[in-house]
Symmetry: C2
Subunit: 157 residues, 2 copies
DNA sequence: AGTGAAAGACATTTAAA
DNA sequence: TTTAAATGTCTTTCACT
């Protein structure tokens, strides 16, 4: 992960559709070099994929919430089932596995407040693993879509 | 937002680097049609950009947390300053503006637990707007990177 | 709104340093 | 690892439906 790799990762985070030619031009290297670097980063799992960022409201999702969930005392396998099931529900944008006051935090985005209530009552509350949950409405959200590498001890690492 | 648009949005969320030709082939339309649809979706703000998904650990970020922040009684302008400043700190992946027990929830990702503590004590706690905060370690995370449109009343909307 | 053909731009491979 | 050249594919425009 040298400076060239760091630049590639930065540029592709901010625009995944950059042509390889343009990427190479901005890096000051040959296109084939850029191509090989991108492939290596992908092979090493640094770059995990490319996605379009879509406006949630344009998808008809006008209500967002963070839901802190406490699970009951169950076996690990039940936690994993919960995570896999709930994490792939279409209403769930992100599922966080956390410690502290809660076990799971869900970021959900649905059509409106009514649908949010329906989600909480009909879908979440009926899961046998759920003991309690607490909901915070989300009124705004800022994503840092370009994340820089953080080094342990200076730029030499 | 007809079914063709919905398919485009789905396909580009799952792979932003799909060639326009391949996109058109999967949609069953001509490349020029696919191109115009994608441009219209971009113009209308449905597609907001394209990004590479990068492994946080590959960026040297091995510790993640959700930090619930309560702000003091300040003017709106100070809240906005806080949001803009903190939301663009490199440690912050996402900033949520919420209601309920807290005013702000931060998803932060840093090198290790030591750096997390330093972030909380040296950077967050020293902000004048911050009254209290509470930290939950994040041990796992599942993103739903392909979000479908949710319709109010059936597929006809 | 959708299409097909044409021109130019591009990705990708290869051989070599 | 990086490069330049070459091939085949792709994006994009435009006249037409």
């Amino acid at each position: 992960m040298d400076e060239l790799d760091a630049s590639i990762v930065r540029l592709l985070q901010s625009d995944a559709r950059l042509s390889n030619r343009e990427l190479a031009r901005r890096l000051g290297v040959a296109p084939s070099t850029a191509l090989e670097r991108v492939r290596a980063l992908t092979r090493r799992g640094v770059i995990r994929g490319y996605g379009a960022h879509v406006d949630l409201k344009a998808l008809g999702r006008h209500a967002e919430a963070l839901v802190s969930v406490q699970l009951g005392r169950h076996q690990r396998s039940m936690y994993e089932t919960f995570r896999e099931t709930v994490g792939s529900w279409p209403e769930v944008v992100t599922l966080f596995v956390v410690s502290g006051g809660s076990d799971i935090v869900l970021h959900v985005a649905v059509q409106d407040v009514e649908q949010l209530h329906a989600f909480l009552v009909d879908r979440l509350a009926t899961r046998p693993e759920v003991a309690r949950f607490q909901t915070s409405m989300v009124f705004g959200r800022d994503h840092n879509r370009v994340l820089e590498p953080l080094d342990g001890e200076g730029p030499g690492a």
